[in-house]
Symmetry: C2
Subunit: 245 residues, 2 copies
Amino acid sequence: MRNIKLVIEYDGSGFNGWQKQPNKLNIQGEIEAVIENITKEKIELIASGRTDAGVHAIGQVANFKTNSNIPIEKIPIAINSQVKNSIRIKSAEEVDERFHSRYNCKRKTYRYIIDNSKYGSSIFRNMTYHMPIKLNINEMQKAVKYFEGEHDFKAFKSSGTSSKSSIRTIYEAKVIEKNEYIILELTGNGFLYNMVRIIAGTLVDVGLEKLKAKDIPVILEKKDRQKAGKTLPPQGLFLVKVEYK
Amino acid sequence: MRNIKLVIEYDGSGFNGWQKQPNKLNIQGEIEAVIENITKEKIELIASGRTDAGVHAIGQVANFKTNSNIPIEKIPIAINSQVKNSIRIKSAEEVDERFHSRYNCKRKTYRYIIDNSKYGSSIFRNMTYHMPIKLNINEMQKAVKYFEGEHDFKAFKSSGTSSKSSIRTIYEAKVIEKNEYIILELTGNGFLYNMVRIIAGTLVDVGLEKLKAKDIPVILEKKDRQKAGKTLPPQGLFLVKVEYK
């Protein structure tokens, strides 16, 4: 059987997240239905991980198995011509039959975008979180560095997750200023439920000077969700890249 | 009476354009209703010009007259708190009573964004025009320069406009490449109906090598709408800036 790996971009605004669920618009279900229509087979599309309602992706990765002999270069065109245009297949590649989008994932990069302008942007309102109070970016940039390395991120996860361990490694963590936007970018070997949105919320507290940069290692140490900031809303979050060996 | 000048940003996607019309969602009507609710007066909001359905604005300018004594710095906050968040008032300023957003306008800048990637962007689909065939940007950059200066733009306007003369001056015309996007930016003393979208369509024909850069002065000269390119769709168009003396 052929194993096809897709790189997928989507505007999560109108969806109830990646995962298939009855009677709710979801990304997985939309793409699966189109692939099934093309291949005339029942298929299962396995993503690197689900994304929540309202969360966007620039480079989500998912794979499916098929007996169809459709040429690989025709796959993005065929899917894109039938799927909603809030979803785009960026590329398709034939991979080893053992390749699994979730299990084999080595690194993920997420981005969280804060609109720090006074009144917020109308045009980017579904792609940013609006924080009208001017944030101390310098202090946020100091704070974000404490997330790099291997840590127990227990204080930075929402309950309701099934992962056994809350230890993760962040390879790179940065806060970038671009016009009136503040962009958080995190690359790690994996992320707990709501982890990026809670880190973003904690960094906003640092920017508001409710917390200091040097409080971050203390919060990590204490492993207490109550000490971290709130979970910021989904629309500012983008899954940027998923990497494999 | 006080005369208040507003700078307005909007995502035109959900609207039937700027202009007030019964039973159709429009930007003017939405803002007027909010201002009337705030001031308890009947007001008229005069813009620098209307924008069509689907067209966006970063810096539309409009003014209204009022007897209300609401402090000027409270006006954006008051309107933004009640208007849809696809519309944002960026600033408000008290101006001379003779100021008129349309009649006094000296320069306008428009931007048209072409997404030249293979499959298009899902995230920016309502803010770009997708052209999957790779365009010759170099030739487009040569072509765009021919629009600078004073010309009769008769070949670059749609019918149905009431303007008497089709002579306009373009102060600056450029085509910029940014990642997979091609951005057309035009600053002029005024624009005819659909003029930017027709210039953009003509430049796409140049990019596709259906036309050469040096055909532009010929088309301007011939004043024949049929010789110019098609009118590109509204969602790629942004009214960026409106300038006064």
